[in-house]
């Protein structure tokens, strides 16, 4: 009983600290201070016409830094999500956060992301409970929340009379240039906190993910770990929505981790590969989107998927060759 209360307490503490720090500490400015000189020094050597702006103009620098830090945390989470068969939770929570944004807009809030955060965290905790109590499987509960909250948001927007405006479109497809200094602070704060907590609980989280009962017998507070993980996932997804958009969140959350599974031989090596693939996807995605003037989120997602295909073909080359030698002459 005490254990369960403790875990709820932890989750609430995490929420409160995010809220409090969101207002007080401008961690984003700290990042800018640290990274701006580095970015500016490598900027001129970057290829392309528009792409170097990501290294020299402040608004683009913010976009670049938030894209990168979000990718790092997403890769961290992605491997665990794959393990838990919760690959689509990112998508689900992103849609929930869209519902939250819509309600925020209808209520006339200037920063609807706060609403998104609250809604996603609640949904994430409920999904966790439904799954761990074996009331519903993970994907079924995700499906319910995904459609339910999306529909709720759309209905609320329509009733309000606004419908889908360009702002709302930004939430659906992501618009890096919408990241102002306030939301930049939010994103960097959430990601930094999540990263620190994840690094600390990583062994316990892995033990819980592989086999919750055995972990509980060993004395791992599995419930607390599960709640923390759910809250972190929700918070990170909400910050990702601002970078790649609600519809494309899964691309950064799962695709690099899935690609890494093709290459890596151990959990640790998969972890490192995930970061490499994520980093490449973001940089190439931003480059191509800047040069071809396409949406950044969609280009990042596309690049991530292409990398997966290439790695898949590359790692299965020997199988392809044997296939060719077997069936290659079939239609000669």
């Amino acid at each position: 009983m005490i254990r369960e209360n403790l875990s709820t307490l932890y989750s609430i503490l995490f929420l409160v600290s995010i809220g409090a720090l969101y207002i007080k500490i401008e961690i984003g400015e700290f990042y800018m201070l640290f990274f701006t000189p580095i970015l500016e020094s490598i900027g001129p050597s970057m290829p392309g016409e528009t792409f170097p702006y990501f290294f020299t103009l402040e608004i683009f620098q913010r976009a670049l830094i938030s894209a990168i830090i979000v990718t790092i945390v997403a890769g961290f989470l992605g491997t665990f999500l794959l393990f838990r068969n919760l690959a689509l939770i990112g998508d689900g929570l992103a849609h929930v956060s869209f519902g939250g944004v819509a309600i925020g807009v209808v209520l006339g809030s200037t920063s609807p992301m706060g609403y998104a955060l609250v809604f996603s965290i609640i949904a994430s905790l409920i999904i966790y409970e439904l799954q761990s109590r074996e009331i519903l499987t993970g994907d079924a509960s995700i499906a319910i929340f995904l459609t339910g909250m999306l529909a709720f948001g759309l209905v609320a927007l329509r009733l309000d009379g606004g419908g889908i405006t360009t702002d709302i479109e930004g939430y659906l497809f992501g618009n890096l240039l919408l990241i102002d200094s306030q939301s930049f602070n939010g994103i960097t704060l959430i990601c930094t906190l999540s990263l620190i907590i994840l690094l600390i609980i990583r062994p316990a989280l892995l033990a819980t993910t592989v086999d919750p009962l055995t972990a509980a017998v060993q004395g791992v507070p599995t419930k607390t770990i599960g709640h923390l993980f759910s809250v972190i996932t929700a918070a990170v997804v909400v910050s990702m929505v601002q970078v790649v958009g609600a519809l494309l969140v899964t691309s950064l959350l799962v695709t690099p981790a899935a690609t890494a599974q093709l290459v890596g031989r151990s959990f640790r090596s998969c972890f490192i590969w995930t970061q490499i693939f994520g980093f490449t996807s973001v940089l190439l995605g931003l480059y191509f989107s800047a040069e071809n003037d396409t949406g950044s989120g969609s280009m990042i997602a596309l690049v991530a998927a292409i990398i997966f295909c290439l790695v898949f073909i590359f790692t299965n080359l020997s199988k392809l060759k044997s296939f060719q030698s077997k069936y290659g002459s079939l239609f000669d």
Binding site: R3, T79, L82, F83, I200, I201, P203, A204, L206, A207, V210, D211, L213, T214, A215, A216, V217, Q218, G219, V220, P221, Q261, G264, R265, S266, F267, R268, S269, C270
Partner: protein, 273 residues
Amino acid sequence: MKKNGDVDECCSPAILEINKISVNRSGKVVLRDIDLKVHKGEFIGLVGPNGSGKSTLLLSLLGVLPLAKGSITIFGKEASPRNFYGRVGWVSQAASNLPRHVKLTVRELVGLGTVNAESIFQLFNNGRKEKILDAIKSVGLEEVIDTDVSKLSGGQRQRAVIARALVTEAEFILLDEPLVGMDSNSRNSLLKLLDDLCHDRGKTILMVSHDLAAIRQTAHRMVFLEENIKFDGPTNQFPDLETLANLRGITPVHEGPIHYHDHNPTGPIEVVE
């Protein structure tokens, strides 16, 4: 009904004491009035038909399922993971279905055994690597130490999970159906390993299985469970099939002696049209 539960009470203190417990699962009584004592160094085979409550008993020992009645003490304390972590090793049935789609090496899997309530916040855990290596060596998996768990055979995977339990330095090891889906070679070597653990390293082992023959070859003491304990005693006193049927209350279907049909498998097959 034969009850020899207290055979070697003289020799060593009881590690596990179960006092008249009853357990309900989804409204149905699964276990009724169970009394059981386990002493240090024993190798106990817990057998019984499917659905007889073997796994339920294990889960209640681990403090995962609430008791309707009675009490369980392990190492003199109430059964709850918080009270015995590190001293009780649990080898779950789920061991045979470890995730296959995510890469995890034997070393990493065994390493998970070192995680507990205390070590979560320890960033540096001295001697952890050596402990993991020792445990892997003791189950004889050093050749596949950096192999992906999903590429191991069923027997090797079970050994890996046992190594995970050993790395906690558990004195009392609970195994839930470790022999499921194993060929005879790996079954034999696994039983040998368990026997060695019991004799050479002084571990107390409680193994659940419905493979009567295998348990009979290994365990010192057998417990037959079907809602309550029908037999508890040394392995060599385990009843034959007919006595067992009586204990379980299975009545003969045929009146009088059974008539066996002539059966000639090598003869010509008759085709009935």
